[in-house]
Each structure stands twice: as structure tokens, then as C-alpha cells.
């Protein structure tokens, strides 16, 4: 069975998270710029002396397709390398993947990861 680890983290933690994942043997990942809010909500900034709401805060979304046995370890690595202790550190979740295929070779399942 394959798993998809999805993490939404602070953009400033992307570098350390990527390095630590590579050191732990993760071969690839997909990174997307994302915007959103969680418990922290948005915040207020000023422009020309007037306020404006930043409702969606910039985040980075990481997606890693992996074998069942690796999912927990990857979650732990992202959690420890991505943590600042401040509000807005983000979330990690894992979903089951029913099919996967490597486009170049046609390999499927665990071979495709």
C-alpha cells in the first residue's frame, strides 16, 4: 500500500525540512506555494496609513508519495525540522493512495515511488 504524506509548513522552514528529508533517504517531493489560515487566523498590516487584513497567510505545501512503512518516519522528520514552536507551524496528514504510476517507464505501485 502507498501513502501520501501532505504537510503545510512555514515557508521559512522549507530548506531545513528538505535537507533533513533528503538525509533520511526520501527521493522526491512536490512543493506548492499555498495560502491559508488555521487557528492563528489572519493578521493586520498597514499601507499608506490605512489597515488591511491579510486573511490568507503564505505557506508551503509538501507532498511525498511513499511506501506504507516510511510514512510515520517522514511525518516525524517534517514535524521536527518544520517546528518553530510559534503559532502557524502548520499541519501534516497522511492519506492512502490506491494507485500510482511512473510515466516514463510505466512502473506501478511501490516500484513507481
Amino acid at each position: 500500500m502507498l501513502q501520501l504524506v501532505t504537510a503545510v509548513i512555514k515557508p521559512t522552514r522549507l530548506g531545513p525540512v528538505k535537507e533533513t528529508l533528503k538525509e533520511s533517504g526520501v527521493a522526491g517531493m512536490t512543493v506548492t506555494e499555498a495560502n491559508g489560515f488555521g487557528q492563528q487566523g489572519g493578521h493586520t498590516e498597514t499601507y499608506r496609513g490605512a489597515d488591511y487584513e491579510v486573511e490568507f497567510i503564505p505557506k508551503v505545501k509538501i507532498e511525498i508519495l511513499c511506501d506504507d512503512v516510511d510514512a510515520d518516519r517522514i511525518m516525524d522528520v517534517i514535524a521536527s525540522a518544520g517546528r518553530t514552536g510559534e503559532i502557524g507551524d502548520g499541519k501534516i496528514w497522511v492519506t492512502e493512495v490506491s494507485k500510482a504510476l511512473r510515466i516514463r517507464t510505466g512502473e506501478v505501485g511501490a516500484e513507481a515511488v
Partner: protein, 466 residues
């Protein structure tokens, strides 16, 4: 616009030192050399003033949103182009033509056909027109920023024709054209156009913003002003710096001669700009917590606008004070127009109308020298000149305010009733670029092939999978 007899001045001497033999440096220039230098300098100054159009375009585009960037660039391109044509064929004749209408309050010749009668001393008619048309285009382009992100392009195009064909030329007729404000017992003074050029654009901008109403989302339901942030601060700062450079044509060029007054005017312009930027930034930092880049850029320009009128009359220290006050008031003026719900996305009213009016009035207090408008020295209150000049300057700015707000207001209301002034709600939300001009300002190539793309489909078949 100083009109004076020409003598060999410091700048001319320096130039001739380079161009000819050192032995000539102490001598008066031959009239022919002075003629060439005057026309060459005013031509170059005019080119610098046309370059300000690039500054306005970048400043206004930067302070608004990327979905309207084509539209604001097009407005800047066309208020210059339509403005130059309107000024050439109608406006110039009203401003400087020989004819008289209504007791001299308006003149009329058919535009540049009347140019032969209207030369300033020593300048070719074509030099004078070239320089004046640059100022007309400046007055017109100030309005586009205040009306940004919600105005129908068609209506804006018509506006820019009328401003440069009729409204601005009548102001010129009364002032630099030698009209009634120049004929008062204590004549008006506005050396390079704080009121004549900048406040004309600024008050017209205010009427445009009032008739249009604010952008969707500018004010919360309870009326609190909300910021709509700039899409490109680099454009804002680059635009402000180009305007700063252009001002060294605007003010020193208004001497209309290559003489010894050019460099002092350039120096006072420089110091006022610097003071405006520093004081605006400090004031904004103190009251709002962070130094806002676009406000600092507004402060630089407010210092420049403020010194534009008094630059020929005041001492160097006073230029620093006047530029600094211009930078100080622009911060509060921006807040004021927010509070009264006049939505001016770029601060054009505050920079050009408010700082311009202040600069024009400052002459009444700081005037030390005769700038060839005043006709006397020590006209300012601080130099024992009393209040004579204050009343003239006050009449000047009040009559100018009433004339421009009434005529520009009538123009915008007429446009609203006929061809319509504001785009639809849907168009405003989507951005004006595609719906007004056909394509977005930042390109339609998404970076990958889409429907209709010439990129061929891959020939290999997709591998089968279970």
C-alpha cells in the same frame, strides 16, 4: 517662466569655456551664442519634462493592482499624446494667442497657427511650444492616478482632450499668458507652476475621484478606509525617481534661458525634494508605526511640487523648509482624503493640489528675490514685505480652485451622463486590462501549452496500467 534680457551668465560661461578658448571665459557671449544656448537648454529641459511621463506611468501603475496595469499605462500614453495634439491645435492659442475674448479673459488663435506672436524673449516659437506642451501633458496626466482602477477608458480619453484644450489653457491665459493675475498691482508669482500646472491636475483629479466614487472594497461597511496595497513598489520608487530627475527640466527650464539663475534653481529643487522625502517618511513612521515606501515617494514629490512656485524667489534655506513642510502635509492630506471618502489610489490630490497650493502661498512669506513675476525684492512677510503678496497669492489659489473644480466637475458629470464614467462592477472586479484593452498587462502565456497550442501531442502511446 522668467522673461528677462539675456546676459552671459555663469552656466553660459562654463559652457563656452569647454567649447571654445579659455580666454573667452570672462567675456560676454555673442548674442548668437546665447541664442543657441537658450534654445538648446530649454529644448533639453523640455525633454526632461516629457520624461516625467514615464515617471507618472510607473508610479501610478506600481501603486495600483496588476489587473489594471495595461489600463493605467494606456491612460498615461494617451493623455500625453491626445494632450499634446489638443494643446497644439486649440489650447496653445487660448493661452498665448494674440486674440482677446470677453475682455481679455480668453484669447484665441487657431493653436500653433498663433505661435509666431507668442515667443518669449530669445526663444524660437517652436522651442517655446515644445516646452509648454510638455507642461500641458503633465497637468493632464496627474488625473489618471486618482481615477485609477475604475474609469472607462473612453471617458478618460475625452477628459484628457478637454483638459489640455480648454481648462488648462484658460489658467495659462490668466497667468503666464500675461492675463489679469499678471496685471494686478502686486502681480501673482508661480515660477514653474505649483498651481498653474500641478494644482490644475490635482483639483481636476479630485473632481474625477468624487464623481467616480471609491473603488469597490476601499471602505468597509462602517466607512473605515481600507488599504488596497500596491502591486509593485519597485515601479513606485523608480517612477518617483524619474519624476525627480524630470523636475530638473521642469524648474530650471522654466527660467527659459541658459543664465546664472539656472543652477540656484536646480539646487533649491534638489534640497526641497530631499527634505520632502525625509520629513514625509519620518512623519509617517512616527504616526503609523512603519515607514511606508509609497508615502516616502509621495513626500519626495510633494517637496518638489511645493518648491515649484517659490523656487525663483526664496533663499536656499527656505527651499529646505518649504520642501519639508510639503512632505509633512502630504502625510495628513492622504489621511484626510481617506477620511472624507475620496478614493485617490496614488495620492495625486495630496501631492499635486495640496502641496502645490501650499507652495504657491509660501511665496507670500518666504519671497526674498524678484523672480521677474513679483517685480520687487523682499515681497515676503518674513522680509518686511507685509501682506500685499499674501492677498494676491490667496486670490490666485482661490480663483484657480473654483475655476478648475467647477469646469472639471462639469466635465466629469457630463461624461457620466453621456458615455458613462465608470466601468461595470464585474469589470472592476475582474480588472480593466482584458475588458477595456483586450489582453492582460503581464502576458497571456501561462508557461504550458493549452487548448489551441501549436505544440504537437506526443507520438508515443501511453503505457498501459492496471
Amino acid at each position: 517662466m522668467r522673461r528677462k534680457l539675456l546676459t552671459g551668465g555663469v552656466l553660459a560661461s562654463l559652457l563656452i569655456l569647454v567649447l571654445a578658448s579659455p580666454a573667452m571665459a570672462q567675456e560676454e557671449l555673442a548674442p548668437a551664442s546665447q541664442f543657441v544656448l537658450d534654445n538648446l537648454w530649454v529644448f533639453i529641459a523640455g525633454v526632461l519634462v516629457y520624461f516625467m511621463q514615464a515617471g507618472f506611468a510607473l508610479l501610478e501603475a506600481g501603486m495600483t493592482r496588476g489587473k489594471n496595469v495595461s489600463n493605467i499605462m494606456m491612460k498615461n500614453l494617451m493623455d500625453m499624446s491626445a494632450g499634446v495634439l489638443a494643446f497644439a491645435f486649440v489650447g496653445f492659442g487660448i493661452a498665448f494667442g494674440g486674440g482677446e475674448l470677453l475682455g481679455g479673459w480668453f484669447g484665441f488663435d487657431f493653436g500653433i497657427a498663433g505661435v509666431e506672436d507668442t515667443t518669449a524673449d530669445g526663444l524660437l516659437p517652436s522651442t517655446f511650444f515644445f516646452f509648454q506642451a510638455a507642461f500641458a501633458a503633465t497637468a493632464a496626466t496627474i488625473v489618471s492616478g486618482a481615477m485609477a482602477e475604475r474609469t472607462k477608458f473612453k471617458a478618460y480619453f475625452v477628459y484628457s482632450f478637454f483638459l489640455t484644450a480648454l481648462i488648462y489653457p484658460v489658467v495659462l491665459r490668466w497667468t503666464w499668458g500675461g492675463g489679469w493675475l499678471a496685471q494686478l498691482e502686486f502681480p501673482f508669482s508661480d515660477f514653474a507652476g505649483s498651481t498653474i500646472v500641478h494644482a490644475t491636475g490635482g483639483w481636476a483629479a479630485m473632481m474625477g475621484a468624487i464623481v467616480l466614487g471609491p473603488r469597490i472594497g476601499k471602505f468597509a461597511k462602517d466607512g473605515t478606509p481600507r488599504a488596497i496595497p500596491a502591486h509593485s513598489i519597485p515601479f513606485v520608487v523608480l517612477g518617483a525617481m524619474i519624476l525627480f530627475i524630470g523636475w530638473f527640466g521642469f524648474n530650471p527650464g522654466s527660467e527659459l534661458a541658459a543664465d546664472e539663475f539656472v543652477m540656484p534653481i536646480a539646487l533649491k529643487t534638489l534640497l526641497a525634494a530631499a527634505a520632502g522625502a525625509v520629513v514625509a517618511m519620518s512623519t509617517n513612521w512616527f504616526f503609523d508605526g512603519k515607514p511606508d515606501v509609497s508615502i516616502a515617494a509621495n513626500g519626495l514629490l510633494a517637496g518638489l511640487v511645493a518648491i515649484t512656485a517659490p523656487v525663483g524667489t526664496v533663499e536656499t534655506w527656505a527651499a529646505v523648509v518649504i520642501g519639508g513642510i510639503g512632505g509633512f502635509i502630504v502625510v495628513f492630506s492622504v489621511k484626510f482624503f481617506d477620511r472624507v471618502k475620496i478614493d485617490d489610489p496614488v495620492g495625486a490630490i495630496s501631492v499635486h493640489a495640496v502641496a502645490g497650493t501650499f507652495g504657491t502661498l509660501s511665496i507670500a512669506f518666504f519671497a526674498r528675490y524678484d523672480d521677474a513675476f513679483l517685480g520687487r525684492e523682499n515681497a515676503g512677510l518674513f522680509y518686511g514685505g507685509g501682506l500685499d503678496q499674501f492677498w494676491t497669492q490667496l486670490i490666485f489659489v482661490v480663483v484657480h480652485f473654483v475655476f478648475v473644480t467647477v469646469t472639471a466637475g462639469a466635465l466629469f458629470l457630463a461624461l457620466k451622463k453621456t458615455i458613462g464614467l465608470r466601468v461595470s462592477r464585474e469589470e472592476e472586479l475582474a480588472g480593466l486590462d482584458v475588458l477595456e484593452h483586450g489582453s492582460p498587462g503581464y502576458g497571456i502565456d501561462p508557461g504550458y501549452p493549452s487548448n489551441g497550442s501549436p505544440v504537437p501531442a506526443p507520438e508515443t502511446s501511453t503505457p498501459a496500467h492496471s
